[in-house]
């Protein structure tokens, strides 16, 4: 039985809307217009214990709303969910003690006090036995390398330091399920890598189940074997990164270093020339034709070096959402999104 089981989960928000300008503003005084926004639409999926699942989608796709429902912050409009055997929005204390949600844009720390004060309050609220609290805290301080910032007021910390303290406070009670909403937002590349490494280590050490949303593909590729793609509230794909790549972008990227310049037409028959910069060429060829194209390139051309890669995940995701946009525009193209949705169903 999955540790997180979501069935036909939906959330509809009623939001006020009006045209810009003074007259519209006065009009809304007497007559307010509302629009229903279907933030999450019949989403179903399951997550096994110890899995790390990446939740991908553009802004407003419904990722955070889904996580908020699973953490008990929001009541759904429809559907069911069970996490660790609990219905999240019943907000039972026994459930809240076993989960944690880290929101990159929302602080759990006491702004005017040193982070250590927030850690101690957290320990008391979750009633963590003191020896266990001290042991976990020592581990987290070491893993996150935050010993030097513990005595500083939170508001004086850098964003990266604060994020690490946010992660620390979220994990002090050793949650079994962790919802991470943009945990690396706004921090520099080195810090992103450290946070990523830490999340992986936490998962390995405690076997925690993790759902992660991030706009940084590096977070997802480094941590998640499985991804769930969501857009306009609907689930578009649920599977491995490699599967998504195969399905959404059925081509390989061949990067070539040449010994001497060669005319473009030499590549045209093999695939699309993505770039051709003097003696460096990047080709996109259909997956099935990759081996034939490679053999031909090696036979016919003065190759110094050649690599075959999957397309960057950013490109794959861009294709998923690009396809969806064009679907909604009604251009009648065969829909990859539909294909993947069928697979999910």
């Amino acid at each position: 039985m999955p540790q997180i089981a979501v069935e036909q989960l939906s959330k509809v928000f009623k939001v006020p809307e009006r045209e810009g300008g003074f007259i519209a503003s006065m009009g809304s005084l007497f007559r307010r217009r509302y629009r229903e926004v279907r933030a999450v639409a019949d989403v179903s999926f399951g997550v096994e214990a110890g899995e790390i699942v990446g939740f991908l989608g553009p802004n407003g796709a419904g990722k955070t709303t889904t996580l908020k429902m699973l953490s008990g912050l929001l009541f759904p409009t429809g559907g069911k969910a069970e996490v660790l055997g609990h219905t999240p929005w019943k907000r039972e204390s026994a459930y809240l003690r076993r989960i944690s949600m880290l929101m990159g844009q929302r602080s759990q720390l006491q702004w005017d006090l040193p982070a250590m004060d927030s850690f101690q309050v957290h320990g008391a609220i979750y009633d963590i036995p003191k020896p266990q609290f001290q042991q976990t805290l020592d581990e987290l301080i070491e893993l996150l390398d935050i010993s030097s910032v513990l005595k500083k007021q939170v508001r004086t910390l850098s964003l990266g330091e604060r994020m690490k303290c946010e992660i620390c406070v979220s994990l002090l009670h050793r949650p079994d399920v962790l919802f991470l909403d943009e945990p690396t937002i706004g921090v520099d590349i080195e810090m992103q890598a450290r946070i990523r490494r830490f999340i992986g280590e936490y998962n390995a050490r405690y076997g925690a189940t993790i759902i992660l949303t991030s706009h940084y593909m590096a977070d997802v590729t480094a941590l998640c074997k499985r991804i769930v793609v969501i857009d306009h509230g609907k689930l578009l794909f649920d599977g491995s990164l490699a599967e998504l790549s195969t399905r959404m972008a059925p081509f390989k990227v061949i990067k070539i270093d040449l010994d001497r310049p060669v005319d473009d037409y030499a590549f045209a028959a093999l695939g699309d020339v993505m770039s051709c910069d003097d003696q460096k060429v990047v080709l996109r060829v259909p997956r099935k034709a990759a081996s034939t194209a490679t053999a031909k390139l090696l036979n016919d051309l003065p190759i110094l070096d050649l690599t075959i890669e999957d397309p960057p995940i950013e490109d794959v995701i861009a294709r998923v959402f690009g396809t969806r946009e064009s679907d909604s525009a009604g251009d009648g193209k065969a829909s990859m999104a539909e294909a993947t949705t069928r697979r999910v169903k």
């Binding site: 955070t64 908020k68 026994a94 759990q108 006491q110 008391a124 609220i125 009633d127």
Partner: protein, 269 residues
């Protein structure tokens, strides 16, 4: 210590630490708490002095001084302000981290409220002493009245707090509550016996005050403290009314809270 007492004590400690960060702010709030009853004391003492029989609402100048000194203490002990803060927490999504904890957010607010009252003691006690020595209120209050006044003070504080917090939950529907806060504060002042002793209110207003909880928050504990409530029967009846209102507001809070969190839209992350 473990369980809820441990959590409560830790939240209280951290809220006190937070308050201490802003000493100038809590000093100014303490002054604000003194200014209001002082102005009203001056007004009613003048009115008593200028009246034919030297009294107003049945109190002479000395009685007015005793009443407003009591109101000063009651006002501080019963202070509650969640109706001003809740809309910010809801509108900005700042309530979300509190909702994720296995303890109701109201407990954080209660410990914040207590922290304010504890930390401001170092400022209000000297101010009360100065007021006392200048105005010279005369307490004819008996020990049993002081004892029951202490209970009434606690019940009044709980009642105002619970009512204020429950009203604050309107923020889950109305988003901005500044005006509601002002209305609530106005009702507390007028119907709670703070602008004028209840006996000095126009009949229609005092009849309205009789069926609402505000006088049980402020006027009753102050009258008990000032020795205006003279019989144990009256005192016990008043405490009974306070207890009934406290029970009712706790029930009301539970009902409204359940509806409120269903409405919560957890905006802005």
């Amino acid at each position: 210590m473990s369980g809820f007492p441990r959590a409560f004590a830790a939240m209280l400690r951290v809220n006190i630490a937070n308050m201490i960060q802003y000493r100038a702010e809590i000093l100014l709030w303490s002054v604000w708490g003194i200014v209001n009853p002082t102005v009203l004391y001056v007004m009613w003492a003048s009115a008593a002095g200028g009246s034919d029989d030297g009294t107003v609402a049945g109190l002479d100048r000395n009685g007015v001084a005793t009443y407003y000194f009591s109101i000063m203490i009651v006002g501080h002990v019963t202070a509650a302000w969640d109706v001003y803060e809740m809309s910010y927490l809801v509108r900005k999504g700042s309530l979300s981290p509190q909702l994720l904890r296995p303890i109701l957010p109201i407990w954080n607010s209660i410990t914040g409220n207590l922290a304010y009252k504890i930390t401001t003691m170092m400022f209000v006690l000297p101010m009360w002493a100065v007021f006392f020595f200048i105005v010279r209120p005369h307490f004819s209050t008996q020990p049993w009245q002081f004892g029951l006044a202490a209970v009434a003070l606690v019940l009044g504080a709980v009642l105002n707090y619970m009512m204020c917090y429950t009203v604050a939950l309107i923020a889950f529907w109305a988003t901005k509550l500044d005006a509601v806060g002002e209305i609530y504060f106005g009702l507390c002042m007028m119907l709670g016996g703070r602008v004028a002793p209840i006996a000095g209110l126009p009949p229609v207003v005092s009849e309205l005050a009789a069926v609402l909880p505000f006088q049980w928050m402020f006027a009753f504990p102050a009258e008990l403290l000032a020795g205006i409530v003279t019989t144990p029967q009256e005192a016990m009846a008043g405490l009974g009314m306070q207890a009934a209102w406290v029970a009712l507001t706790i029930i009301l809070f539970n009902v409204v809270w359940r509806a409120a969190i269903r409405r919560y839209s957890a905006v802005s992350g």
